[in-house]
Protein backbone atom coordinates (compact mmCIF):
# COMPACT_ATOMS: atom_id res chain seq x y z
CA UNK A 1 0.00 0.00 0.00
CA UNK A 2 1.32 3.42 -0.83
CA UNK A 3 1.02 6.44 1.35
CA UNK A 4 0.95 9.96 0.14
CA UNK A 5 1.93 12.84 2.28
CA UNK A 6 -0.15 15.90 1.58
CA UNK A 7 1.39 19.30 1.68
CA UNK A 8 -0.76 21.08 4.20
CA UNK A 9 -1.01 24.67 3.08
CA UNK A 10 -3.05 27.57 4.32
CA UNK A 11 -6.49 28.24 2.96
CA UNK A 12 -5.41 31.71 1.96
CA UNK A 13 -7.10 33.28 4.97
CA UNK A 14 -4.82 35.70 6.78
CA UNK A 15 -4.32 35.66 10.52
CA UNK A 16 -5.18 38.76 12.42
CA UNK A 17 -1.75 38.59 14.10
CA UNK A 18 1.29 36.43 13.43
CA UNK A 19 0.15 33.69 15.71
CA UNK A 20 1.90 30.33 16.01
CA UNK A 21 -0.60 27.47 15.78
CA UNK A 22 -1.02 25.34 18.90
CA UNK A 23 1.04 22.50 17.39
CA UNK A 24 4.10 24.69 16.82
CA UNK A 25 5.84 26.29 13.88
CA UNK A 26 5.81 23.21 11.64
CA UNK A 27 3.06 20.69 11.30
CA UNK A 28 4.26 17.50 13.00
CA UNK A 29 4.75 14.55 10.65
CA UNK A 30 2.20 12.37 12.42
CA UNK A 31 -0.48 14.97 11.85
CA UNK A 32 0.48 15.56 8.22
CA UNK A 33 0.33 11.86 7.49
CA UNK A 34 -3.15 11.34 8.91
CA UNK A 35 -5.00 14.15 7.16
CA UNK A 36 -5.81 12.30 3.95
CA UNK A 37 -7.05 9.05 5.53
CA UNK A 38 -8.89 11.07 8.17
CA UNK A 39 -11.02 12.83 5.59
CA UNK A 40 -12.48 9.49 4.55
CA UNK A 41 -13.02 8.22 8.07
CA UNK A 42 -16.46 7.37 9.33
CA UNK A 43 -17.61 9.41 12.36
CA UNK A 44 -18.33 6.37 14.55
CA UNK A 45 -14.89 4.93 14.12
CA UNK A 46 -13.37 8.37 14.69
CA UNK A 47 -15.22 8.61 18.00
CA UNK A 48 -14.09 5.14 19.07
CA UNK A 49 -10.48 5.97 18.30
CA UNK A 50 -10.84 9.23 20.22
CA UNK A 51 -12.12 7.33 23.26
CA UNK A 52 -9.02 5.12 23.18
CA UNK A 53 -6.75 8.14 22.94
CA UNK A 54 -8.40 9.97 25.83
CA UNK A 55 -8.10 6.81 27.95
CA UNK A 56 -4.39 6.69 27.18
CA UNK A 57 -3.91 10.37 27.96
CA UNK A 58 -5.64 9.93 31.30
CA UNK A 59 -2.93 7.45 32.17
CA UNK A 60 -4.85 4.22 31.78
CA UNK A 61 -3.74 1.24 29.73
CA UNK A 62 -4.87 0.82 26.14
CA UNK A 63 -4.25 -2.47 24.36
CA UNK A 64 -3.34 -2.64 20.70
CA UNK A 65 -6.09 -5.17 20.06
CA UNK A 66 -8.67 -2.53 21.01
CA UNK A 67 -7.52 -0.54 17.96
CA UNK A 68 -7.26 -3.60 15.77
CA UNK A 69 -10.88 -4.48 16.51
CA UNK A 70 -11.95 -1.37 14.57
CA UNK A 71 -10.40 -2.73 11.37
CA UNK A 72 -12.64 -2.94 8.29
CA UNK A 73 -12.26 -3.46 4.53
CA UNK A 74 -11.95 0.29 4.05
CA UNK A 75 -9.56 0.85 6.90
CA UNK A 76 -6.65 -1.49 7.56
CA UNK A 77 -4.97 -1.57 10.94
CA UNK A 78 -2.06 0.30 9.39
CA UNK A 79 -4.25 3.23 8.43
CA UNK A 80 -5.97 3.14 11.80
CA UNK A 81 -2.54 3.33 13.47
CA UNK A 82 -1.65 6.36 11.38
CA UNK A 83 -4.87 8.09 12.38
CA UNK A 84 -4.36 7.13 16.04
CA UNK A 85 -0.81 8.55 16.08
CA UNK A 86 -1.87 11.72 14.31
CA UNK A 87 -4.79 12.41 16.62
CA UNK A 88 -2.72 11.58 19.70
CA UNK A 89 0.00 14.00 18.63
CA UNK A 90 -2.56 16.66 17.89
CA UNK A 91 -4.22 16.35 21.29
CA UNK A 92 -0.92 16.15 23.18
CA UNK A 93 0.16 19.42 21.58
CA UNK A 94 -3.14 21.10 22.37
CA UNK A 95 -3.14 19.87 25.98
CA UNK A 96 0.39 21.14 26.56
CA UNK A 97 -0.85 24.71 26.33
CA UNK A 98 -2.53 26.00 29.49
CA UNK A 99 -6.25 26.64 29.12
CA UNK A 100 -5.77 30.37 29.72
CA UNK A 101 -3.50 30.65 26.69
CA UNK A 102 -5.52 28.80 24.07
CA UNK A 103 -8.89 30.09 22.96
CA UNK A 104 -11.38 27.62 21.60
CA UNK A 105 -12.08 29.65 18.43
CA UNK A 106 -8.38 29.86 17.61
CA UNK A 107 -7.99 26.15 18.26
CA UNK A 108 -10.77 25.44 15.80
CA UNK A 109 -9.19 27.85 13.33
CA UNK A 110 -5.94 25.87 13.51
CA UNK A 111 -7.85 22.63 13.02
CA UNK A 112 -9.53 24.16 10.02
CA UNK A 113 -6.13 25.13 8.57
CA UNK A 114 -5.07 21.49 9.00
CA UNK A 115 -8.12 20.45 6.96
CA UNK A 116 -9.69 18.50 9.79
CA UNK A 117 -13.37 17.90 8.98
CA UNK A 118 -15.72 20.23 10.90
CA UNK A 119 -17.57 17.34 12.50
CA UNK A 120 -14.41 16.10 14.08
CA UNK A 121 -13.36 19.59 15.18
CA UNK A 122 -16.16 19.73 17.74
CA UNK A 123 -15.24 16.38 19.25
CA UNK A 124 -11.58 17.37 19.49
CA UNK A 125 -12.47 20.70 21.07
CA UNK A 126 -14.61 18.97 23.68
CA UNK A 127 -11.60 16.91 24.80
CA UNK A 128 -9.42 20.00 25.14
CA UNK A 129 -12.01 22.36 26.63
CA UNK A 130 -14.59 20.03 28.13
CA UNK A 131 -15.01 18.59 31.58
CA UNK A 132 -12.42 15.82 31.14
CA UNK A 133 -9.73 18.50 30.98
CA UNK A 134 -9.20 18.85 34.72
CA UNK A 135 -8.59 15.10 35.08
CA UNK A 136 -6.14 15.18 32.20
CA UNK A 137 -4.27 18.12 33.73
CA UNK A 138 -4.09 16.39 37.10
CA UNK A 139 -2.66 13.21 35.55
CA UNK A 140 -0.06 15.26 33.64
CA UNK A 141 1.24 16.91 36.76
CA UNK A 142 1.31 13.64 38.71
CA UNK A 143 3.35 11.93 36.00
CA UNK A 144 6.23 14.45 36.06
CA UNK A 145 9.70 13.17 36.93
CA UNK A 146 10.40 13.56 40.66
CA UNK A 147 12.94 12.78 43.33
CA UNK A 148 11.62 10.47 46.05
CA UNK A 149 9.12 11.93 48.49
CA UNK A 150 8.57 11.05 52.13
CA UNK A 151 5.76 8.50 52.17
CA UNK A 152 5.81 7.93 55.90
CA UNK A 153 7.69 9.51 58.77
CA UNK A 154 7.81 7.65 62.08
CA UNK A 155 9.62 9.20 65.01
CA UNK A 156 10.45 8.71 68.63
CA UNK A 157 11.75 10.97 71.35
CA UNK A 158 13.98 9.21 73.84
CA UNK A 159 15.55 10.51 77.02
CA UNK A 160 18.73 8.74 78.04
CA UNK A 161 18.75 8.03 81.76
CA UNK A 162 22.19 6.59 82.25
CA UNK A 163 25.02 5.06 80.26
CA UNK A 164 28.12 3.07 80.99
CA UNK A 165 30.10 6.29 81.28
CA UNK A 166 27.58 8.56 82.91
CA UNK A 167 25.30 7.87 85.83
CA UNK A 168 22.85 10.64 85.00
CA UNK A 169 22.36 11.69 81.38
CA UNK A 170 18.83 13.09 80.96
CA UNK A 171 19.54 14.14 77.39
CA UNK A 172 16.78 13.84 74.76
CA UNK A 173 17.34 12.45 71.30
CA UNK A 174 15.03 12.12 68.34
CA UNK A 175 14.92 8.94 66.31
CA UNK A 176 13.46 9.08 62.80
CA UNK A 177 12.38 6.37 60.40
CA UNK A 178 11.68 7.76 56.94
CA UNK A 179 10.00 5.61 54.33
CA UNK A 180 10.48 7.13 50.89
CA UNK A 181 8.37 6.69 47.78
CA UNK A 182 11.20 4.71 46.15
CA UNK A 183 10.83 2.06 48.83
CA UNK A 184 13.95 2.90 50.81
CA UNK A 185 13.66 3.16 54.56
CA UNK A 186 16.17 5.38 56.37
CA UNK A 187 16.54 5.18 60.13
CA UNK A 188 18.74 7.66 61.90
CA UNK A 189 19.15 9.61 65.07
CA UNK A 190 18.80 13.37 65.15
CA UNK A 191 20.69 15.14 67.92
CA UNK A 192 18.59 17.91 69.45
CA UNK A 193 20.77 20.66 68.00
CA UNK A 194 20.42 19.18 64.51
CA UNK A 195 16.71 18.84 64.99
CA UNK A 196 16.43 22.55 65.66
CA UNK A 197 18.48 23.21 62.54
CA UNK A 198 16.18 20.95 60.50
CA UNK A 199 13.05 22.60 61.83
CA UNK A 200 14.46 26.06 61.18
CA UNK A 201 15.44 25.21 57.61
CA UNK A 202 12.08 23.65 56.79
CA UNK A 203 10.26 26.71 58.15
CA UNK A 204 12.59 28.96 56.18
CA UNK A 205 12.03 27.16 52.88
CA UNK A 206 8.29 27.11 53.52
CA UNK A 207 8.32 30.88 53.91
CA UNK A 208 10.49 31.31 50.80
CA UNK A 209 8.05 29.16 48.85
CA UNK A 210 5.13 31.25 49.94
CA UNK A 211 6.96 34.44 48.97
CA UNK A 212 7.81 32.90 45.62
CA UNK A 213 4.20 32.04 44.95
CA UNK A 214 3.11 35.61 45.75
CA UNK A 215 5.88 37.38 43.83
CA UNK A 216 5.70 35.14 40.86
CA UNK A 217 2.06 35.77 40.11
CA UNK A 218 3.10 39.34 39.34
CA UNK A 219 6.41 38.83 37.56
CA UNK A 220 6.23 35.89 35.18
CA UNK A 221 4.05 36.76 32.23
CA UNK A 222 2.51 34.11 30.03
Amino acid sequence: MTMSIIQVTGTGKSFANDRTPFYGVRVPTEIKTMIKPLSKLDKNIFRKILVLIVTAIEGKEVEYKQLKELESKDFSEEVLSIIYSGLLKLLQNALRVPLESLKQELFKEDLHELQIPEDFQTDLASVVFGNRRSTIDRVSILSRPRLPQIDCLKWRVDVGISTSVLNRVLEPTVLMEMTLSDGNIHTFEVPVSKFHELRYNVAFVLKEMEDLEQRNVLKIKD
Partner: protein, 166 residues
Protein backbone atom coordinates in the same frame (compact mmCIF):
# COMPACT_ATOMS: atom_id res chain seq x y z
CA UNK B 1 40.75 15.69 79.89
CA UNK B 2 40.25 16.55 76.26
CA UNK B 3 40.33 12.96 75.21
CA UNK B 4 38.27 11.50 78.02
CA UNK B 5 35.07 11.27 76.01
CA UNK B 6 36.72 9.40 73.17
CA UNK B 7 36.55 5.67 73.53
CA UNK B 8 39.33 3.28 72.54
CA UNK B 9 41.98 5.89 72.03
CA UNK B 10 45.24 6.34 73.81
CA UNK B 11 45.55 9.83 75.17
CA UNK B 12 49.13 10.37 74.14
CA UNK B 13 50.96 9.25 71.05
CA UNK B 14 54.04 7.06 71.37
CA UNK B 15 56.38 10.02 70.92
CA UNK B 16 54.55 11.98 73.54
CA UNK B 17 54.71 9.06 75.94
CA UNK B 18 58.47 8.84 75.50
CA UNK B 19 58.88 12.53 76.18
CA UNK B 20 56.73 12.20 79.28
CA UNK B 21 58.87 9.37 80.57
CA UNK B 22 61.95 11.52 80.23
CA UNK B 23 60.40 14.63 81.74
CA UNK B 24 58.92 12.81 84.70
CA UNK B 25 61.90 10.58 85.22
CA UNK B 26 59.91 7.35 85.20
CA UNK B 27 59.98 4.33 82.93
CA UNK B 28 57.38 2.78 80.61
CA UNK B 29 55.28 0.65 82.96
CA UNK B 30 55.27 3.38 85.59
CA UNK B 31 54.01 5.95 83.07
CA UNK B 32 51.33 3.49 82.01
CA UNK B 33 50.18 3.18 85.61
CA UNK B 34 50.13 6.93 86.16
CA UNK B 35 48.09 7.58 83.04
CA UNK B 36 45.64 4.80 83.72
CA UNK B 37 45.13 5.93 87.29
CA UNK B 38 44.48 9.50 86.24
CA UNK B 39 42.08 8.36 83.52
CA UNK B 40 40.22 6.19 85.98
CA UNK B 41 39.90 8.95 88.54
CA UNK B 42 38.56 11.37 85.95
CA UNK B 43 36.17 8.81 84.46
CA UNK B 44 34.76 8.13 87.88
CA UNK B 45 34.41 11.83 88.54
CA UNK B 46 32.49 12.10 85.25
CA UNK B 47 30.29 9.09 85.95
CA UNK B 48 29.15 10.49 89.27
CA UNK B 49 29.20 14.10 88.08
CA UNK B 50 31.31 14.82 91.12
CA UNK B 51 31.34 18.26 92.67
CA UNK B 52 34.89 19.63 93.08
CA UNK B 53 34.63 19.73 96.87
CA UNK B 54 33.56 16.11 97.07
CA UNK B 55 36.23 15.08 94.61
CA UNK B 56 38.86 16.89 96.63
CA UNK B 57 37.77 15.19 99.85
CA UNK B 58 37.72 11.71 98.31
CA UNK B 59 41.11 12.10 96.65
CA UNK B 60 42.60 13.22 99.94
CA UNK B 61 41.11 10.15 101.61
CA UNK B 62 43.06 8.06 99.08
CA UNK B 63 46.19 9.58 100.61
CA UNK B 64 47.34 11.41 97.54
CA UNK B 65 49.68 14.34 98.04
CA UNK B 66 47.84 17.59 98.54
CA UNK B 67 49.53 19.23 95.52
CA UNK B 68 48.37 16.42 93.28
CA UNK B 69 44.85 16.53 94.67
CA UNK B 70 44.70 20.24 93.95
CA UNK B 71 45.98 19.71 90.40
CA UNK B 72 43.35 17.11 89.62
CA UNK B 73 40.53 19.12 91.18
CA UNK B 74 41.52 22.28 89.34
CA UNK B 75 41.54 20.52 85.96
CA UNK B 76 38.18 18.98 86.78
CA UNK B 77 36.68 22.29 87.79
CA UNK B 78 37.79 23.95 84.56
CA UNK B 79 36.91 21.26 82.08
CA UNK B 80 34.41 19.04 83.86
CA UNK B 81 31.31 20.69 82.44
CA UNK B 82 32.46 20.32 78.83
CA UNK B 83 33.40 16.70 79.30
CA UNK B 84 30.03 15.90 80.85
CA UNK B 85 28.29 17.64 77.96
CA UNK B 86 30.20 15.58 75.41
CA UNK B 87 29.59 12.36 77.27
CA UNK B 88 25.90 13.08 77.54
CA UNK B 89 25.62 13.42 73.82
CA UNK B 90 27.38 10.15 73.13
CA UNK B 91 25.11 7.69 71.45
CA UNK B 92 25.00 4.03 70.54
CA UNK B 93 22.97 4.53 67.41
CA UNK B 94 24.97 3.93 64.20
CA UNK B 95 23.43 6.66 62.06
CA UNK B 96 23.38 10.35 62.87
CA UNK B 97 21.96 13.24 60.92
CA UNK B 98 24.85 15.60 60.21
CA UNK B 99 24.09 17.84 57.26
CA UNK B 100 21.02 19.64 56.07
CA UNK B 101 21.07 21.23 52.60
CA UNK B 102 18.24 22.40 50.41
CA UNK B 103 17.27 23.96 47.11
CA UNK B 104 14.11 25.82 46.14
CA UNK B 105 13.05 25.51 42.49
CA UNK B 106 10.27 26.79 40.31
CA UNK B 107 9.19 24.30 37.66
CA UNK B 108 8.21 26.14 34.51
CA UNK B 109 7.55 23.19 32.20
CA UNK B 110 7.60 19.43 31.72
CA UNK B 111 7.33 17.25 28.64
CA UNK B 112 3.54 17.17 28.76
CA UNK B 113 2.77 20.66 30.04
CA UNK B 114 4.20 24.07 29.20
CA UNK B 115 3.98 27.43 30.97
CA UNK B 116 3.90 26.25 34.58
CA UNK B 117 4.75 27.90 37.86
CA UNK B 118 5.17 24.96 40.18
CA UNK B 119 7.44 25.55 43.20
CA UNK B 120 9.26 22.59 44.66
CA UNK B 121 11.92 22.12 47.31
CA UNK B 122 14.73 19.57 47.35
CA UNK B 123 16.35 18.55 50.62
CA UNK B 124 19.59 16.64 50.99
CA UNK B 125 20.13 15.09 54.42
CA UNK B 126 23.65 13.88 55.14
CA UNK B 127 23.59 10.92 57.50
CA UNK B 128 26.86 9.69 58.99
CA UNK B 129 27.13 5.98 59.59
CA UNK B 130 29.55 4.98 62.29
CA UNK B 131 30.20 1.63 60.62
CA UNK B 132 33.55 1.22 58.92
CA UNK B 133 33.75 2.16 55.26
CA UNK B 134 30.16 3.25 54.89
CA UNK B 135 30.83 6.97 54.90
CA UNK B 136 28.10 9.53 54.66
CA UNK B 137 24.74 8.63 53.14
CA UNK B 138 22.86 11.37 51.27
CA UNK B 139 19.10 11.20 51.48
CA UNK B 140 17.52 13.29 48.71
CA UNK B 141 13.85 14.15 49.00
CA UNK B 142 11.52 16.44 47.10
CA UNK B 143 8.53 18.41 48.41
CA UNK B 144 5.69 20.40 46.93
CA UNK B 145 4.30 23.21 49.06
CA UNK B 146 1.70 21.02 50.72
CA UNK B 147 4.12 18.13 51.20
CA UNK B 148 6.60 20.46 52.93
CA UNK B 149 3.86 21.86 55.12
CA UNK B 150 2.93 18.34 56.17
CA UNK B 151 6.56 17.62 57.06
CA UNK B 152 6.74 20.86 59.01
CA UNK B 153 3.68 19.89 61.06
CA UNK B 154 5.31 16.59 62.00
CA UNK B 155 8.43 18.45 63.11
CA UNK B 156 6.24 20.73 65.20
CA UNK B 157 4.72 17.71 66.94
CA UNK B 158 8.20 16.47 67.79
CA UNK B 159 9.12 19.92 69.08
CA UNK B 160 6.09 19.88 71.38
CA UNK B 161 7.37 16.64 72.89
CA UNK B 162 10.81 18.11 73.41
CA UNK B 163 9.29 21.22 74.98
CA UNK B 164 7.28 19.05 77.34
CA UNK B 165 10.47 17.52 78.67
CA UNK B 166 12.02 20.69 80.02
Amino acid sequence: MQRLHLKDERTFSEEEEEKLQQTLGIDGPELELVLQTLEFLLQQAAYHAAKPAVLSQQLTQLELEQAKVEAIVSVWTTNGRDVLQKLRQQTLHPSQLEDINWRLNLQIAQSSVSKQKLPNAMFELGVRDSEEGVGKKKIRVEFTHSELYQFYNQLEMIQKQLDGLS
